[in-house]
């Protein structure tokens, strides 16, 4: 595929993902923490077009499921009752885009029917809804931590690049240390000194701050490099000769030069940080239950019986692939264009 098409494709896939996740409440049929205790580990609900008399229905429908009488771990469809899939239904309340309270959902089925597109987890919670809401946590963590890293990196890189004296020396030596760290180990160490005894919200913030602060070194070095070369560019030298103030020079000429580096770094760091959050939550050091996050969802797979029996628990991991692919492709294309 040529780079331009690839770029568009990656961009579109990212936009789609982020759209789905931003409006998780609308696209998901259920509250991500709602438990259906009689439907633990229900497989993805089958969507039918033909009923038991082989009649075709234009509107797809689902059946209810119940545990098999002789094998309570497997479910069977209860064919007597049909639950047509309805579009634009009213369900549990949520805030659209985090702002406007509403009850509208894209699709759903009538109670007591359930539609689990991606199956249900150990408490009978809808995996599809959890995936979308969990994405909010994981992606928000990725974005916020990236912003933090880039912000810190930008600040320190600019200072080092412009100052070019002892400050430069100190910042760059520190950056070397930070870059040479086994960062996941350090992330763990930092998590170790944080109180484990915190609420879900605080834990999330902590994770973000920790991930973000640890990653300042690489962007800082790159930005310093850009600043150093920008300082020597003809037009900057000329502007300085014409008596432009330092602040003006930085704001007008030097800072814009760093845009390319910032963009590439962002598209490399975001997926990396999303994965860091997933890893931490997987190991029980991230956001705590019942909040959905991709790491939390995947951590169920640490249980032998889940790993062996319920393939749909892998879905959150699969969902990560297009997202990360999108970001990496974006990073590559930006790099190539620079």
């Amino acid at each position: 595929m040529n780079p331009k098409r690839l770029f568009r494709f990656a961009g579109a896939s990212l936009a789609l993902w982020h759209g789905l996740i931003l409006f998780a409440g609308f696209f998901s049929p259920y509250d991500p923490t709602m438990q259906n205790r009689t439907l633990a580990f229900a497989p993805p609900t089958r969507i039918h077009f033909f009923d038991r008399y082989q009649r075709f229905h234009l509107r797809p429908f689902v059946y209810g499921v119940r545990a098999q009488p002789h094998n309570p771990e497997a479910y069977e469809e209860e064919r007597s009752q049909v639950y047509p899939i309805k579009w634009m239904v009213r369900g549990h309340g949520y805030k659209a885009g985090g702002l406007f309270p509403t009850r509208w959902h894209l699709f759903g089925v009538d109670e007591p029917g359930r539609i689990f597109l991606f199956g249900s987890d150990d408490f009978g919670r809808d995996q599809f809804s959890r995936l979308l809401f969990g994405g909010q946590i994981s992606i928000a963590a990725g974005l916020a931590a990236t912003a933090l890293s880039l912000g810190l990196g930008f600040l320190l890189g600019m200072m080092a690049g412009l100052q070019a004296g002892w400050l430069d020396e100190v910042v760059m030596r520190c950056a070397e240390v930070f870059m040479a760290l086994p960062w996941l180990y350090l992330l763990f160490a930092v998590r170790a000194v944080m109180p484990l005894h915190v609420s879900a919200g605080k834990a999330f913030l902590l994770v973000v701050v920790v991930i973000g602060v640890l990653g300042w070194a690489r962007p800082a070095r790159l930005i310093r490099g850009v600043v150093l070369s920008a300082k020597e560019k003809d037009f900057v030298v000329a502007a300085r000769g014409l008596g432009a103030s330092g602040a003006y020079l930085v704001g007008r000429h030097v800072a814009p030069q760093t845009r390319g580096v910032m963009l590439t770094q962002a598209s490399v760091l975001i997926p990396q940080y999303i994965l860091a959050e997933v890893t931490l939550s997987f190991l029980g050091l991230g956001v705590s239950e019942p909040t959905a996050s991709w790491g939390n969802m995947l951590s169920t797979l640490q249980q032998y019986h889940v790993l062996l029996s319920y393939w749909w628990m892998f879905i959150p991991g699969l969902a990560l692939i297009p997202l990360i692919w999108g970001y990496y492709t974006l990073a590559n294309t930006i790099k190539m264009r620079l």
Binding site: V177, L186, R191, V193, P195, L298, L307, F314, G317
Partner: protein, 322 residues
């Protein structure tokens, strides 16, 4: 040569010192302290606490504390594990050796695969093989390591072909050396495979780019014009010329490998530093945490040192600078 070596070693030591200071500072600002944790452990007697207090200057200001701890490192104790009620070093060495075994094997294998494959793809750049590998590479890169480890684990469980988790089949003590080694190899397969699959997609594009840059350079074009066969060109000239950018990647890849191995160790219950670290965190066993971080940094520094030396050996420009 020796001066260069020394400088790199001093650099590494500086790095280690910086990391230890950093982690120590971290624990200083953290709520709850080592002494509290010690007192909480019913297995640690007042006598032990008093001894440790004297040994590590636990109630002194941080400078003194750090100096004492550094002394214990010099003595080979690496601090005191609250949970195990013993010096941290014996706990750490064994795990560190396991981690090293895992990562070094994975590293060597990845490079052994990456260099010929990368060169081969580079020789076919633009052809379908290149595009195929590129695509596969991106997909491998996009699979979260966690996912990969879990899928491999599931495969091993389902197929029953490979031992699942751990480092050795139990109780081989009475059998021969050969069996033990064979058994270790069998246990290595799964985690190493996982690490190789994680590392390869990072290495391949770099090797490919480095080799193809050389292949496009004038001296190769000239050689080809003189009629040298492609295979000899690739092995004899291009690979050697592209050694530099590839070696500089070596140091960086270690950091990534260590981080992935942390996860792989935990998922596949490999008794390495990663698992020890996770346990230490949950038990709030501070000195053990510092020890784990420090040892992993030491691996990293060691790897970088090797990379630097290799670079020195392969690149005459660095030698000339001296």
């Amino acid at each position: 040569m020796i001066r260069y070596c020394l400088r790199r070693i001093i650099n590494s030591l500086f790095l280690l010192a910086a990391v230890s200071v950093l982690t120590f500072l971290l624990f200083e600002i953290a709520p709850g302290n080592f002494l509290d944790e010690l007192r909480l452990n019913p297995q640690v007697s007042e006598q032990t606490i008093a001894n440790l207090k004297a040994k590590y200057a636990l109630d002194q200001p941080i400078g003194v504390k750090y100096a004492q701890w550094a002394r214990s490192v010099a003595h080979g104790d690496l601090g005191f594990s609250v949970a195990y009620n013993m010096a941290a070093a014996p706990l750490l060495w064994h795990r560190a050796a396991n981690t090293l075994l895992l990562t070094v094997t994975a590293m060597v294998l990845s490079w052994l695969i990456a260099i010929p494959t990368g060169a081969w793809i580079a020789a076919r750049r633009g052809k379908w093989q290149d595009i195929l590998f590129g695509g596969a590479n991106v997909i491998l890169l996009a699979i979260p390591h966690l996912m990969l480890a879990l899928i491999l684990l599931l495969f091993a469980l389902r197929s029953g072909l490979l031992p699942v988790g751990g480092i050795s089949s139990t109780a081989l003590s009475s059998r021969g050396w050969g069996t033990t080694t064979g058994d270790l190899m069998a246990h290595l397969v799964l985690p190493v495979l996982c690490l190789v699959l994680v590392t390869l997609p990072m290495l391949l594009p770099h090797v490919r780019r480095a080799v193809s840059d050389v292949l496009d350079s004038p001296f190769i074009l000239a050689a080809r014009a003189r009629g040298l066969p492609d295979s000899r060109l690739l092995v004899g000239h291009a690979l050697r010329a592209s050694a530099n950018p590839v070696i500089s990647l070596f140091g960086l890849s270690i950091s990534e490998l260590l981080s992935s191995s942390l996860l792989v160790e935990i998922v596949m219950s490999w008794p390495g530093l990663g698992r020890l670290l996770l346990e230490a965190i949950l038990a709030r066993d501070f000195h053990l945490v510092v020890g784990c971080v420090l040892l992993s940094t030491a691996f990293l520094a060691g790897g970088n040192l090797i990379a630097d030396l290799l670079l020195y050996a392969s690149d005459p420009r660095i030698r000339a600078k001296q």
